[in-house]
Structures are given as structure tokens and as C-alpha cells.
């Protein structure tokens, strides 16, 4: 396979190499060597990254709070099997993104803009910027909540987030950025540790896989739960991020099998850690958990400390800091990729700040803007955080439809177009996400304008 890869370029007549090409080809040379020497684990190590980052990046602050809230209000039933189901849906979507990126070597934004039309490209970028900005505010809030447990304030949260963004950008290499963020993302496992520390009833966890009891409460509450939990699993930024990162990493059609492993491992880890947050939250069920508003003060970590001890509270707080920090890095990156792709300028971690000024500026700028919001006295941070996932769910169907269109484009994808089964599942996912988001949006609006009662 690698020989084919090499021979593909062998006939190239004098390409103008850029620094980005050189950096990417160095990474590819390691993949080539590992493949040639049949070093399977080495090959896997070199090719994992975008899938795990997209999935664990989506296990962000608001998502983990949403899972813990589900557990605190409704217990384990229904949500323990529902979370893996949602990540299975996310796998279907993210596998398509990885495949499109590996085959076309282009990001989602630029492909939509060029292939479908500029109006659709800019719509997609607009949706992304809006949801990313709102979500980034929620990530800074998440870090703030985690730090509040250790008696540290909003200023520290802002400084920590921004320093991380600048630090990870400083290397001028995709590989370096990816490995640093990947290393940080593995600390998402703190939520699993928090679940162990609350000493759950293992039998009850196993029994909850039968989707019962179904959550009670009003129809609108159920829709909100579904919309926010879906928004905690599949979002527009993941689509932009994984496709662009796969292209930036230099993945090719030869790497699709490993890209699938990467995405699957990410989905499994994210589901396990998400269930960890749910189980930790469920420890509060019999201790007035339904009254806990996740982002109010130190919320969950403090409540866990009272119920399960200081270690559980501290681990959960550290988990929130990690979840927010990793998401700030991946969501800022997806915004930067989209900005560079839509404007049509250099957009790669392998480019220097001078040759990819917009990419670097957007990466830092969007994080800076979100950070500024949390420093505004009296800003409605709780409402912003809680609505971030819902807004992402409502806007998601258009991004998903365009993604399925690209994945079925024979002119782009050649033999790597979607199979019929992938299309069936993809369309079912779009219908489910669209219905849940729209039902919540319409129902809430009708209640707000008093056309229907709550």
C-alpha cells in the first residue's frame, strides 16, 4: 500500500514544496516506514488522533454536566444505554468526516463552499462560529466551576484557557499540537475515577441497560433532555474538526481502516467516561440531586464532596477543568480551520503563524472572545451554558445533510463513497437529531408565548 502511495507522487513534476508540505511529509515518512516494516502498533499510534480528539473533545464541560445532571435527576436507567447509542450515532457521522478528509485532503468548510456553493459554505461557517462561540463560553464556565472547588476565580480560568491555546499553537506542527491535546484528553478518564469513588452498585449499573425506567416529568423536559444529550454527543464543530484534522494530519485512503479504529476507540472512551459522569451524578439522586444546578457556584463537585467524600469532589472538579480545557483547544481549532477554508487562505498547524495568520488569529481570537464574556459581571453564564448544546442540536441537521451529500459524491470520493447501509443509518441519525431539536425548539417557543401550557 505504501509503495503505491509513494509511487503516486513519484511521477510528480517538480512541485513547489511549502513548509506545510515538508512538515506533513515528515509525518507521512514515519507512517510509510511503520507500514513497510509491518509495525502494526506503531502504525496505529501514528495514525490515531483526530477521531479520539473529536470524541473526547465533545465530552466537554457542558456535556459532562448534562450527563451528571441526568444521573442526579433521573438515576441510571435509560441514560446508561442511551449514551453509548448516541456515540454509535456519532461514530457513523465522524467516520464519514474522516473518510472525506482522507480521500479529498480538504476540510468540510472548503468542500461545501466549493462543491455545493459559497452560500452553503458561509451558512455552515456561520452556524459553526455561532455555536462554537456559545460553547466556548460554556467551556470557560466549566473550568471556572472546577477551579471554584479549589477556591480559584474566573481570572485564573481565563488565563489557563488562553495560555493553553497559545502554548499548543507554538510548535508550528500538527503532530505536536495533536499529541499535546491527546495527552490532555486522556484525563477525561477522571470522570470514570469519580464514578468509582462514589462506590456505585455495579448490579444496578448492569440492570440499567434495559432502557428503564424512562425519565418522567413534562414532555418539554424530556425533549430538553434529549436535545441537550444529543448536543452533548454530535455537534457541528466535530464535523469540521475531524475532517480538517484528518486532512491536516496527511491521512490518505490507505489510512481509512486506522481512521475507523481511531474514531471507534474515541467513541468507546467517550461513552465510558460519559457514563462515568452519569454514575457520579447519580450518587446525588437520593441526596436532593434534582435541586442541583450544575453551573451554579461549584455545583456538582461540592455536592459530591458532601455525599462521597473530598476525593470524589476533587476528581470531578479536575475532570471539569480538563473537559473545558481540551474542548477549548479543539473547538478553537475547528473555528480556525473553518475561517481559513472559507476565506481560502492557509489553514494548517503545519504552517507558520506568518503564512497562516488568519488561522492562528482565529484560533486565539475566538477563545479570547469567549473568555471575555465570562469576565463580564452579571453575564448569564448558567443560561448560556445550558443552551449551548441545544442550539448545536438545532443547527446540526443542515451540516449532517451536507456531509452525507459529500460522502456520496462520486466525483470527489470515487470508490470510497458511502455504502447503502451507511446512508440508511446516516439518514436515520439526521431524522432523529432534527426531530428532537425541532420538537424542543417549537414546544419551548409555544410555551414561552403562552400558546400552549407547560
Amino acid at each position: 500500500m505504501a509503495a503505491t502511495e509513494a509511487s503516486t507522487a513519484a511521477g510528480l513534476a517538480g512541485p513547489q514544496l511549502t513548509g506545510e508540505d515538508t512538515a506533513r511529509s515528515l509525518d507521512r515518512s514515519r507512517v510509510h516506514d511503520a507500514r513497510r516494516q509491518s509495525k502494526r502498533w506503531r502504525l496505529l499510534w501514528l495514525l490515531v488522533g483526530p477521531g479520539i480528539l473529536a470524541m473526547l473533545g465533545e465530552n466537554d464541560g457542558p456535556s459532562m454536566i448534562a450527563y451528571a445532571s441526568d444521573g442526579a435527576q433521573y438515576g441510571l436507567g435509560f441514560f446508561v444505554p442511551f449514551i453509548p447509542l448516541l456515540f454509535a450515532m456519532a461514530y457513523v457521522c465522524q467516520e464519514m468526516c474522516m473518510r472525506i478528509g482522507a480521500v479529498t485532503h480538504r476540510g468540510y468548510g472548503e468542500l461545501v463552499l466549493q462543491r455545493v456553493g459559497p452560500v452553503w459554505g458561509w451558512f455552515a461557517a456561520g452556524d459553526l462560529t455561532l455555536t462554537n462561540l456559545v460553547t466556548l463560553v460554556a467551556e470557560f464556565v466549566s473550568i471556572r466551576v472546577g477551579l471554584a472547588y479549589f477556591h480559584l476565580g474566573a481570572g485564573v480560568a481565563v488565563a489557563l484557557g488562553l495560555v493553553l491555546v497559545v502554548f499548543t499553537l507554538s510548535g508550528g506542527r500538527y503532530w505536536r499540537w495533536e499529541r499535546i491535546v491527546l495527552g490532555m484528553a486522556l484525563f477525561n478518564g477522571l470522570f470514570l475515577l469519580a464514578a468509582i469513588l462514589v462506590k456505585p452498585d455495579v448490579g444496578a449499573v448492569a440492570r440499567s441497560f434495559d432502557f428503564s425506567p424512562f425519565p418522567g416529568g413534562s414532555f418539554n423536559t424530556l425533549l430538553l433532555l434529549l436535545a441537550s444529550t444529543i448536543g452533548a454527543t454530535v455537534t457541528p464543530w466535530m464535523i469540521f474538526f475531524q475532517q480538517s484534522a484528518s486532512a491536516d494530519k496527511g491521512m490518505t485512503p490507505h489510512d481509512i481502516k486506522h481512521g475507523r479504529y481511531d474514531t471507534a476507540v474515541g467513541a468507546v472512551l467517550a461513552a465510558v467516561f460519559g457514563i462515568g459522569a452519569l454514575i457520579a451524578g447519580a450518587a446525588l439522586l437520593t441526596h436532593g440531586g434534582s435541586g442541583i444546578q450544575g453551573f451554579a457556584g461549584a455545583g456538582f463537585p461540592e455536592a459530591l464532596r458532601h455525599v462521597a467524600g473530598g476525593a470524589a469532589g476533587a476528581v470531578f472538579a479536575l475532570g471539569l477543568i480538563e473537559a473545558g480545557a481540551v474542548a477549548i483547544l479543539t473547538i478553537s481549532a475547528s473555528t480556525a480551520y473553518a475561517a481559513g477554508e472559507c476565506v481560502g487562505v492557509s489553514h494548517s498547524f503545519n504552517s507558520s503563524p506568518r503564512s497562516a495568520a488568519l488561522f492562528y488569529a482565529a484560533n486565539i481570537g475566538v477563545a479570547l472572545l469567549a473568555a471575555t464574556v465570562i469576565l463580564i459581571p452579571g453575564a448569564p453564564l448558567l443560561s448560556i451554558a445550558l443552551n449551548a448544546n441545544v442550539l448545536a442540536t438545532v443547527l446540526l441537521p443542515v451540516s449532517l445533510v451536507l456531509m452525507v451529500m459529500l460522502a456520496n459524491d462520486k466525483g470527489l470520493m470515487g470508490p470510497w463513497v458511502n455504502k447503502r447501509s451507511t446512508n440508511v443509518i446516516g439518514i436515520a441519525v439526521i431524522a432523529f437529531v432534527g426531530l428532537c431539536g425541532a420538537a424542543y425548539g417549537i414546544d419551548s417557543f409555544l410555551q414561552t408565548v403562552h400558546i400552549i401550557g407547560s
Binding site: 509513494a6 507522487a9 511529509s25 507512517v31 490518505t252 419551548s444
Partner: protein, 85 residues
């Protein structure tokens, strides 16, 4: 293809350097190029892909979905603002 002169090698301009001494550097650069696919170079990805011809049905469907999503988003944002009060 870039030559030794572009590699920042201190010996690049040195007269009298034998071909044998130059070869490894040049080979290194050639190998680097070979690790990328033809359509993976920045020069290639900078070229836009051809616009697809969308059917009228697909265009109408996309616009209908777009309008619907914008309307629902406005409802969510309105509800959000109302809740703030």
C-alpha cells in the same frame, strides 16, 4: 523540486563539494516528496474543486431545511432571551 541550495545546508554553496557528498541531502528531499500523494500538496489543495450540479429537488430541499432550521433557532434564541427575564 527543491535542490540542496534550499535546504539550509551549510555546504550548499561550497565549491568543490563532491556529488557523493551532496547526494544524501538531495535524496532526502526527494524522498520527502514521495511520501505525499499528488493531490496532497498545498499547491494541489489550493486549487478549488469543481462545483457540483445540484438537482432542482436537492436545491429546494436544502433551502427548505435551511429555512426550517433558522426558524427553529430563532425560537430557541427567543426562548433563551425570555428565560433571562
Amino acid at each position: 523540486m527543491r535542490t540542496v541550495a534550499h535546504l539550509g545546508n551549510g555546504a550548499k554553496q561550497t565549491p568543490g563539494l563532491s556529488e557523493q557528498e551532496l547526494a544524501p541531502r538531495e535524496l532526502f528531499d526527494e524522498e520527502l516528496i514521495m511520501y505525499l500523494e499528488r493531490d496532497q500538496f498545498v499547491a494541489a489543495t489550493s486549487q478549488p474543486v469543481q462545483r457540483a450540479a445540484l438537482s432542482a429537488r436537492a436545491t429546494v430541499g436544502l433551502w427548505a431545511l435551511r429555512v426550517f432550521v433558522v426558524l427553529v433557532s430563532l425560537m430557541v434564541i427567543y426562548t433563551f432571551i425570555d428565560q433571562l427575564h
